[in-house]
């Protein structure tokens, strides 16, 4: 292999000289030993692993922190939408019949309430689904889902809040 690389290859891949009397490695420098290529390679690999581990650790912590902030903001958005829908009238029985609540299924887009700079906001899509679960006794299920994408790291996540609601008294 050393031949293929010429003089440099010889310097890198040259065989280690062994002292036949002691069996120890020995090079040409008056009995002093240098690191072999394998040792240097292993040391570099270990250093690279340590650095990669540090980088990955920082990255993981950053991702979790960002996810936590986004998730809390998405939950606030979903709760806000749920609270609005809860205020709608729903009187299913005559003589006064108002089924406004059941017509409020919708999809809206917006931004998560997070600190941002230069318009780098986190977009989200909020879907409201209202289902008449039972007519007698009457109660409806309200499900609000906030779908958002984690900035920088990617990945789409959904925060859901749901509640059962009885008719307006």
């Amino acid at each position: 292999m050393a031949g293929a690389f010429g003089r440099l290859g010889y310097l890198i891949f040259r065989p280690m000289k062994i002292d036949r009397t002691t069996g120890t490695a020995k090079n040409q420098r008056g009995g002093q030993e240098a690191f072999t290529l394998i040792e240097v390679a292993f040391a570099a690999a270990i250093a690279a692993l340590v650095l990669a581990g540090m980088f990955q650790g920082y990255n993981l912590v950053g991702r979790q922190a960002q996810y936590s902030a986004c998730s809390l903001a998405a939950n606030t958005i979903a709760m806000g939408q749920l609270e609005k829908v809860l205020a709608a009238n729903w009187v299913p029985a005559p003589p006064y019949t108002n089924n406004t609540l059941l017509t409020l299924s919708s999809t809206n887009t917006g931004n998560l309430c997070l600190p941002s700079a230069q318009g780098n906001v986190v977009n989200c899509t909020t879907t409201t689904t209202i289902t008449l679960i039972s007519s007698n006794p009457p109660y409806a299920g309200i499900l609000v889902q906030c779908v958002w994408t984690l900035p920088s790291y990617g990945g789409t996540y959904t925060n859901s809040v749901a509640v059962l609601r009885a008719p307006t008294l």
Binding site: Q32, G80, E83, L86, T100, L101, S116
Partner: protein, 209 residues
């Protein structure tokens, strides 16, 4: 005359590093130390960013949680202004928006809770009153100061579509708009060119009665 040559201290049998070795070793050292420093600087920048997001989220969570608890348990509520310890509700036939919110948790005149914008400290404050001789409470709703720039009122009575009401409804949904001007931890002024130039919380809470 031939002088004897004293070679005490000479490096007989020993060799120093060659230039190539020294250069390679120092380059490797620089690369490794540089990588470690860059890695730690990256971690530091991530930490600063996380501190902004997590601190803001924590503060927002506490503020919205406090508001939700009070508004949800309201028996009646009014939007208006609060000046010199006097609450003035918004008149009818105008948009029910203001910088203060009065909440009665029962049908009685006491106890009550008031949220109001303090124009001196630019904070949203909360105070309450339980009756004569009973200690009330006073606290900041959010540690971060907010603005009352007039584009959005802090409290607005809205219907189920989010449309502002023009007639007072004592059990209306309350739209809350908090536009922050500064973060306290870390100390960041929210303005153009800053690390953060926009931070708003907009949500709605409905009384449960």
């Amino acid at each position: 005359m031939r002088m004897p040559c004293f070679k005490t201290g000479t490096r007989r049998g020993r060799r120093a590093f060659t230039l190539i070795e020294a250069l390679l070793a120092s380059t490797t050292l620089v690369i490794i130390i540089g990588s470690v420093i860059m890695c730690n600087l990256y971690g530091l920048s991530m930490a600063a960013r996380q501190q902004i997001w997590l601190s803001a989220s924590s503060d927002a969570g506490k503020a919205v949680g406090t508001l939700m608890n009070d508004i949800r348990s309201a028996n009646s509520l009014y939007v208006g202004t609060y000046q010199t310890n006097v609450f003035i509700p918004v008149a009818n036939n105008v948009q029910q928006s203001g910088v203060a919110l009065l909440i009665y948790p029962t049908t009685n005149a006491t106890p009550w809770t008031i949220y109001y914008y303090d124009s001196v400290s630019n904070n949203l404050d909360r105070t309450n009153y339980y009756g004569t001789g009973q200690p009330g409470d006073f606290k900041l709703v959010s540690a971060n100061p907010i603005t009352n720039d007039g584009t959005h009122a802090i409290f607005t009575e809205v219907d189920y579509t989010g449309t502002p009401l023009t007639t007072s409804n004592t059990l209306a949904s309350i739209s809350i708009y908090l536009s922050f001007t500064k973060l306290q931890d870390p100390q960041i002024v929210i303005q153009n060119g800053s690390v953060v130039d926009l931070y708003q919380i907009i949500t709605t809470v409905t009384p449960r009665l």
